[in-house]
Subunit: 410 residues, 2 copies
Amino acid sequence: MDRKPTNVQKITTRKTHPSPAFARRMHTTPKSFIREILKVTENPEIISFAGGLPNPGLIDVEGLAQAAAEVFASDGRTALQYSTTEGYIPLRRFIADRYKKRLGLEISPDEILITNGSQQCLDLIGKVLIDPGDKILIERPGYLGAIQVFSLYEPVFIPVNLDADGPDVAAFESAVSGYDPKLFYCIPNSQNPSGITYSAACRKTCAGILKNTSTIIVEDDAYGELQFQGKSLPPLKKYLPDQTILTGSFSKIMAPGMRLGWVCAPREIMDQLVIAKQASDLHSNYLSQRIASCYLEESDLDAHVGRIRATYREQANTMIDAMQDALSEDVSWSQPKGGMFVWVTLPVGCPAMDVFTEALKKQVAVLPGIPFYVDGGGTDTLRLNFSNATPARITEGIERLGKVLQSFNQ
Amino acid sequence: MDRKPTNVQKITTRKTHPSPAFARRMHTTPKSFIREILKVTENPEIISFAGGLPNPGLIDVEGLAQAAAEVFASDGRTALQYSTTEGYIPLRRFIADRYKKRLGLEISPDEILITNGSQQCLDLIGKVLIDPGDKILIERPGYLGAIQVFSLYEPVFIPVNLDADGPDVAAFESAVSGYDPKLFYCIPNSQNPSGITYSAACRKTCAGILKNTSTIIVEDDAYGELQFQGKSLPPLKKYLPDQTILTGSFSKIMAPGMRLGWVCAPREIMDQLVIAKQASDLHSNYLSQRIASCYLEESDLDAHVGRIRATYREQANTMIDAMQDALSEDVSWSQPKGGMFVWVTLPVGCPAMDVFTEALKKQVAVLPGIPFYVDGGGTDTLRLNFSNATPARITEGIERLGKVLQSFNQ
């Protein structure tokens, strides 16, 4: 093992300090650094690469308005009443059908539960599966939202380094055999924050290592539809269907404000997720489920997602091109094939927190990578979001960032 | 003490039995008996008093449709984007203003967090405050949804019997001093399931007993606006503002399908609730928050709530009148001053589960009170909902129930 298991408890930069009257879990749950930063960057004069917002120009406001009007007119009284915990059946059927069509996955609508965005999937999974001290294998760097919510259930995180095509296989194999983890949490498509996509070979290898273990895979696929380079690769769910919980989201392909995601799980796990969901909030917003279902039936989601991909490809290329022009050779970055982020590694002598502070003075916001590391580290990394700025502002923002980095070399 | 602390773990009728791979908390969390029963009673020929649905005829579908159209037209792109964890400020301001107007409570919008229905408030409170083994004082009978969600945090429940005007004061005082509970969970207005409303004197007495203790009051006020007899009484929050978390809901006064509730808490607790909310699902449905806020600004909520009260008064009176006609003298029931439920105590020889089974054969659904008891008991009780049936069907249903009960005496 190249790395010891790490409890978030030890990471003082992200700790909060509630009074002793609060539950123990709150003493180990980090507050979102991102949301704190976003408050700083709300000023429209700041070019922000710090957040993770989808491009608002790509939300089909008219189509959704039309769907809403139809739902109110045709069945408003039902859409406004209480409903089932599992979610609206036609919407679950749409999701199952799309899995079949896109990825060849055979999923029954019964194996799908509608959630308040895919973030809630992770809370429900934590409730159902994580006891204090359970080991969670997580990518390094790992998705901050997962670190936050899983921390509520007091696990021990086992970080595994990411290479350009997925987890470091030797470290992954050794962690699986050495720790017998309860969960492996991963984002194989356009990982947040690193932007990398697991190769086909790496997926197969990871699945092979996990086969015949008791580890449950939590495969977060928030970005699978946003791949703008290369063909879709099989999810881990395809290799290990009975061992994999797959989560998805309409936030990036329809509208985040409707807070609609889903979890797709084997039946025995699904039974428990439904109990946890019912206890947590009875059911997800039914009006939004009905509007979404109506919208998806009447619109062409493939065409819409095609537009999103084309736009994000352009935004990503603009950012990469600008970085090649404006940043010195000792700065390196990931080459995203999809999603919304580029991951930057800074040269020696450019601490990410100082870069953040100086960049803000030049009206550009970047996100230091530190909170994505459960074991410290990442002090030389930045996550840059390209989906929420115009190409012109992307170029301008990267030029400003280049000047900031130059000032550290002087 | 008349009663020992009780962990739900011991109540075998409500236990689920997941495999050992699931987290310990799932072994002690009851599945909702109500939702299971509702599946049985979906047949429209059955007159159902078993659920807890508000009267769908009182949902202002047109007003909400109009508000939705306005939000889409005026600011749809923002309403469909990600938003803040705390919730939409004008909606939080509306809630704060209404507390001031209705109850004379001085609440800042900063002390209000928008949730997915008020059920989610209880999940967030559990996350933030309950460690395994913490004592929770709860009404006996107590709200099943609270028992379910708090069970996820593995507390020990201390039930305190309810009298006609609130908790049995001697038992309450003895439980507070004997157990030093972490929380007191209560529904002073139109309690679910008993239908009782705490008297003014009882509220004052309870607050006096809790003053200068470390017990935090969780005051669930889902039904406060639905009081149809007598004047509004001060919430416990008024007596002990810094010690009370107050929860509220738009489900009963606007529309449950929009899943909008709120928690109102002292700032130190609110800071932790916001962290828990953010980890749980980032934020509540923003589109629905915007629609609700637009609707509340443009409609007359007082007039609307007045119509709900008048209708529920009529429905409650119809049920009580029918019971006086159709049920024998050895059946007793609560006299609701608001809310949606009548609580029935059956005579010896009429077990509630058997009454449920026989009543269903006669196409009338009732809810046995058993799952509302954390320590067993309630085998001779029923909860009857009057808000979701027409007066004619209420009368017919109670007549059928009367015949069922007679059959037990023969």
